[in-house]
């Protein structure tokens, strides 16, 4: 029980760190078009050619799988531990909605990850679908893939709206992971709650506005 939950927490925290790096890179998309294109493509090429990053990427895939599998196992077992549900339950009076619905929120994130990997990873790394062109510097034109995708209103909405469940998941997840792994300093926990809120807002709003921005650019 401790072991499984610690895996969810540790992989979750790793994913949280990844999100910071990922958002920082995606912020390039907010720059004027020509600069954004060159910078984004050269950055992406540098990442693909870096052995260390390749290793981290594999760690990332493994983390996502472990996180989902162990989270599913504990959610399933916890539901069994609970057994019959109350006829009337006002748990909104004693806990936040996200803390009660982490699995539900996670399903949306999983859906997002699958579509996201199909849109980018499958296209650029596996070369599935039409060929991706190169830019003036000879770098694979990842910017074009992004820009093309976000000019489709449905994908733009999909990428923006699904950042809402991500934000909710992160708000509870970040605090919870620290406590699962044994952070118990009382004043620290109050600070942690604020940091989690700030982190969740920055991540969901940050990732969420980029598709909108590109669409209307």
């Amino acid at each position: 029980m401790f072991f499984r939950k610690s895996i969810v927490a540790a992989t979750g925290l790793f994913l949280c760190i990844f999100l910071i790096v990922h958002l920082s890179a995606n912020a390039i998309l907010l720059l004027p078009e020509t600069t954004a294109r060159e910078l984004y493509n050269s950055y992406s090429t540098a990442l693909r050619e870096n052995l260390f990053i390749t290793l981290i990427a594999y760690l990332l895939y493994i983390s996502i799988i472990l996180h989902v599998v162990y989270a599913a196992i504990i959610t399933f077992r916890n539901t069994k531990s609970k057994g019959e549900k109350y006829k009337v339950n006002h748990n909104n009076k004693n806990s936040t909605w996200m803390s009660q619905n982490m699995g539900f929120l996670g399903v949306f994130i999983l859906l997002f990850i699958v579509v996201h990997l199909a849109n980018f990873w499958a296209k650029i790394k596996l070369g599935i679908g039409e060929d991706v062109g190169v830019d003036v510097n000879g770098n694979v034109d990842v910017y074009e893939v992004t820009s093309f995708l976000f000019h489709n209103m449905y994908f733009m909405l999909f990428y923006s709206v699904l950042m809402i469940p991500l934000g909710f998941h992160l708000y509870h997840g970040l605090k919870s992971a620290f406590m699962t792994l044994g952070f118990y300093h009382k004043k620290g926990l109050r600070l942690l709650a604020k940091i989690s809120l700030a982190y969740a807002i920055i991540m969901s709003v940050g990732f969420g506005i980029i598709p909108l921005f590109v669409y209307f650019k």
Partner: protein, 247 residues
């Protein structure tokens, strides 16, 4: 004062239970919730119907017997209180009040509102005590304990074992109870010699009893009559990780 109780009636552990409605008149706002149930039971006796089984003992908030789920909350609408300390003035004339037993598969229903909480006793049996020869009481200042340590041990020791934490938890986790019982002893010098074994044995029993895992919804610390802080669970986790990694 007149209210409608909807109360969970279940003959025994294996029987099918259901909510049954009772309109009850003649209540006073000054009655405790348990007295209102007593009042209803007296009416049922006169009508030659089976009385509602519910647990209680001290009726002053210290024994932990009186746990029931009232209108969707453990021990009723207020935070950090027991059912016996809840009064009818917390409800309005004409209210419908739904009363259910604690729900957790590790707390099987015995009858109506009574559940079997002996899983808690078995966790205590794994180390919620200090193995020491009981002679005469030792001189109080023989072992010095600092104020901070004694305060935080006392905060954890306040747990009355009512089971509200398990009852309110969506995972039916007993982490708050177990953490309180472990930390209370492991913080004090008297608890040190057995601290390690206590931590591992009591948490192992908690898992063996099939309580769920803690996901820090925080519901338990809101419903706990003894105000046990959820940071106790994080502290238990910290010591557990340390014990597993460094022996």
């Amino acid at each position: 004062m007149k209210v409608t109780f909807k109360i969970w009636r279940q003959e025994n552990t294996d029987a099918q239970g259901e909510l049954k409605a009772y309109e009850v008149d003649g209540l006073s706002e000054d009655m405790s919730f348990l007295e209102a149930l007593d009042h209803l039971n007296e009416i049922l006796v006169l009508k030659d119907e089976k009385v509602i089984a519910f647990e209680h003992d001290c009726r002053e908030g210290i024994c932990g017997q009186c746990g029931v789920f009232i209108n969707g909350r453990a021990h009723g609408p207020h935070n950090n209180t027991t059912t016996c300390q809840l009064h009818m003035r917390s409800f309005k004339e004409g209210d419908t009040i739904v009363v259910e037993p604690w729900r957790a598969s590790s707390f099987p229903i015995v009858k109506d509102l009574v559940v079997d909480r002996s899983a808690f006793d078995r966790i205590i049996q794994q180390g919620g005590y200090i193995t020491a020869k009981t002679g005469t009481a030792a001189e109080a200042n023989a072992i010095l304990v600092s104020k901070e340590v004694s305060d935080s041990a006392m905060d954890a020791a306040a747990c009355i074992g009512c089971g509200a934490c398990v009852a309110t938890c969506k995972n039916a986790s007993a982490a708050l109870f177990t953490a309180a019982k472990i930390n209370h002893l492991n913080k004090l010098p008297q608890g040190q010699p057995e601290a390690h074994r206590r931590l591992l044995d009591m948490t192992a029993q908690m898992e063996f009893e099939n309580f769920g895992s803690c996901t820090f919804t925080g519901a338990c610390e809101i419903e706990c009559p003894a105000d046990i802080s959820i940071s106790n669970i994080a502290e238990m986790n910290a010591r557990y990780v340390k014990a597993k990694l460094f022996g």
